[in-house]
């Protein structure tokens, strides 16, 4: 083919460009992970020799561990609350027919779009009035507002790609509504809910700005980091950051794994169905 050579040069250039951009995206990992193992007290790269001292400092400093545990608690509770509320909302929107549906969608997604600083000062002023500053409940509420949209999007997507005839089949075969939900609907949308829940956890675990305003003296991990970043940067923060990076990667890979499991299940289901249809028509 004419121009094939020129095409492949273009292709090569495109690949080169893409690899460079992906490297740029990966910079935080490439910088933070090695530094967290450095042996010197100031930042150097590449680190001359390895040590775990910054991890020791992180894991044995009560203020860091307390902040980490607090973030975990908050993240888990927010995850539960946001998953429940977001899943119900996704059901209501995909299954219901009512006026103002698109307005509701705009409302539930808007915490993703509205600048966090606006949400933060609004929540701060409101919570001060309600005496919710520095309370666990206040933090859960604040984090849920920004976490719910992510659950809503993921569960809605799962429900959208869902074959409603399956539910009809179950109920026509005599299953009541509860049973239909538990045995048919829930297993099919579980991947969407789990992914949404993972998102909710990470959103809450990494949330800084709202938390900074309403957490008072109880520090979450990001707030503790933020305060240190203004004082002095020692590699303890690199160790904490590496921990956060690994946590995010674990969450992402789980989400990815869930998605592929679901995809595989779906593919085999479609194949068997086609196979059965085929055998029944030939029989």
């Amino acid at each position: 083919m004419k121009g094939a050579k020129g095409l492949s040069w273009g292709r090569l250039l495109l690949w080169f460009f893409t690899v460079m951009v992906l490297l740029y995206l990966a910079i935080p990992l490439l910088v933070v992970l090695p530094i967290s193992f450095s042996s010197s007290s100031y930042l150097e790269f590449p680190p001359r020799s390895f040590s775990f001292q910054w991890y020791e400092k992180y894991f044995f400093d009560p203020s860091w561990t307390a902040a980490t545990l607090f973030s975990f608690q908050l993240g888990l509770v927010t995850m539960l609350v946001a998953s429940l509320i977001g899943t119900l909302a996704a059901f209501g929107v995909t299954r219901g027919r009512f006026r103002g549906k698109s307005w509701f969608q705009v409302l539930i997604l808007s915490p993703m779009i509205i600048p966090v600083i606006v949400i933060s000062i609004a929540t701060y002023s409101f919570f001060a009035k309600l005496k919710l500053i520095e309370s666990f409940l206040g933090l859960v509420i604040g984090h849920s507002v920004v976490a719910v949209p992510f659950v809503f999007i993921n569960v809605s997507a799962a429900l959208m790609g869902f074959d409603v005839t399956l539910e009809k089949a179950a109920s026509s075969l005599g299953a009541n509504r509860m049973r239909t939900f538990l045995r048919v609907t829930f297993p099919l949308i579980r991947p969407g809910i789990l992914t949404g829940a993972l998102f909710a956890f990470i959103i809450s675990f990494d949330e800084l700005i709202i938390t900074m305003f309403i957490s008072g003296t109880r520090h979450t991990l990001p707030v503790r980091m933020w305060m240190d970043l203004w004082l002095e940067i020692d590699p303890t923060i690199a160790a904490v950051s590496s921990f956060l990076i690994i946590l995010s990667m674990a969450a992402l890979l789980s989400a990815e794994w869930i998605r592929r499991q679901a995809q595989r299940k779906y593919d085999t289901a479609v194949k068997t169905e086609e196979g059965e249809r085929w055998s029944s028509t030939t029989a």
Binding site: P111, P115, I153, R177
Partner: protein, 287 residues
């Protein structure tokens, strides 16, 4: 049962009730607080427009507003330049390879903004890695001042927001009908012409979605400009934070917030009119 169609799950379940928890949460803890601070911007303690006049009359504040818009525009522009070819390649490759490369786009997206900003501080500081490298290679004799500049802010923000450009671009490009490209080629158009006249126009909704998404997110950015920027690089979010935390000037902070929100809404409304908001959420299905 008279009519099984009508008696189905769909109509017999009052689906609206399922929305009550989310509606309650959002109305009480999201809409009401925001409306409350907006009233603060107009009543202080009687009706006044002084906070708004201050934004547009005091030069420093106008500059902050202008700087915020400029930075957001620059960041969106660079994200587009970097993101378009990447999304193009990802949409072309076989799914197996795309999946692997996509993970490399998603990992940073899931990594905390604070962590990613910290990495840039480590990299760009006076005693930072880049300066050490440049000194070692004797490219420079004095460490460069890279951190606490507007360049550092843009560099960091582009890195952080780039996935929000790549994802909507990718999802639109993935949907482009390949037969149109073959048709164009078979009618005698070269690859360049096919790209310019067929592919690029078809990818424009993705370009618009990515651009708007990055722009809007960049407008409200706080962590990265606060940590990477200098004293001169204050953006509107930092100004709002400062007014509330240091000066307790709620009325002015609220007015700034309303201006920020209005800009966001106007952009979204225009986008919705010409492209459609659902294109944005298409990019937000983040895994």
């Amino acid at each position: 049962m008279k009519d099984p169609q009508k008696k189905g799950w769909r109509s017999s379940t009052p689906a609206f009730y399922l929305l009550i928890p989310s509606l309650a949460l959002l109305l009480v803890f999201f809409v009401v607080p925001i409306l409350r601070i907006f009233s603060l911007s107009f009543w202080d303690p009687v009706f006044t427009l002084k906070h708004y006049l201050r934004i547009f009359q005091v030069e420093v504040y106008l500059q902050v507003l202008l700087r915020t818009l400029t930075v957001a525009l620059l960041v969106s522009f660079f994200c587009l330049i970097l993101g378009y070819p990447v999304a193009y390649l990802l949409a072309e490759l076989p799914p197996r390879i795309t999946n692997i490369l996509m993970i490399l786009v998603l990992i940073p997206l899931w990594t905390s903004v604070l962590v990613r900003t910290y990495a840039w501080m480590v990299l760009l500081g006076r005693e930072g890695l880049l300066n050490k490298l440049l000194l070692y290679l004797q490219v420079v004799s004095q460490p460069l001042s890279l951190l606490y500049t507007s360049k550092a802010v843009v560099l960091g923000m582009v890195q952080i927001l780039l996935p929000f450009m790549i994802l909507p671009l990718f999802s639109v490009m993935k949907g482009i009908d390949r037969t149109l490209l073959r048709a164009s080629q078979s009618l005698g158009a070269g690859p360049a012409r096919t790209f310019l006249r067929v592919y690029f126009p078809l990818s424009l909704p993705g370009v618009a979605a990515g651009f708007i998404l990055v722009f809007i997110l960049a407008l409200g950015f706080f962590i990265t400009p606060a940590l990477l920027g200098g004293r001169k690089d204050i953006m509107i979010s930092m100004l709002i934070e400062n007014q509330v935390r240091e000066l307790l000037n709620w009325g002015f902070a609220a007015a700034l917030s309303l201006v920020l929100l209005l800009i966001t809404f106007v952009i979204l409304a225009v986008f919705h009119r010409f492209v459609g908001l659902e294109k944005l959420t298409g990019g937000m299905k983040l895994s």
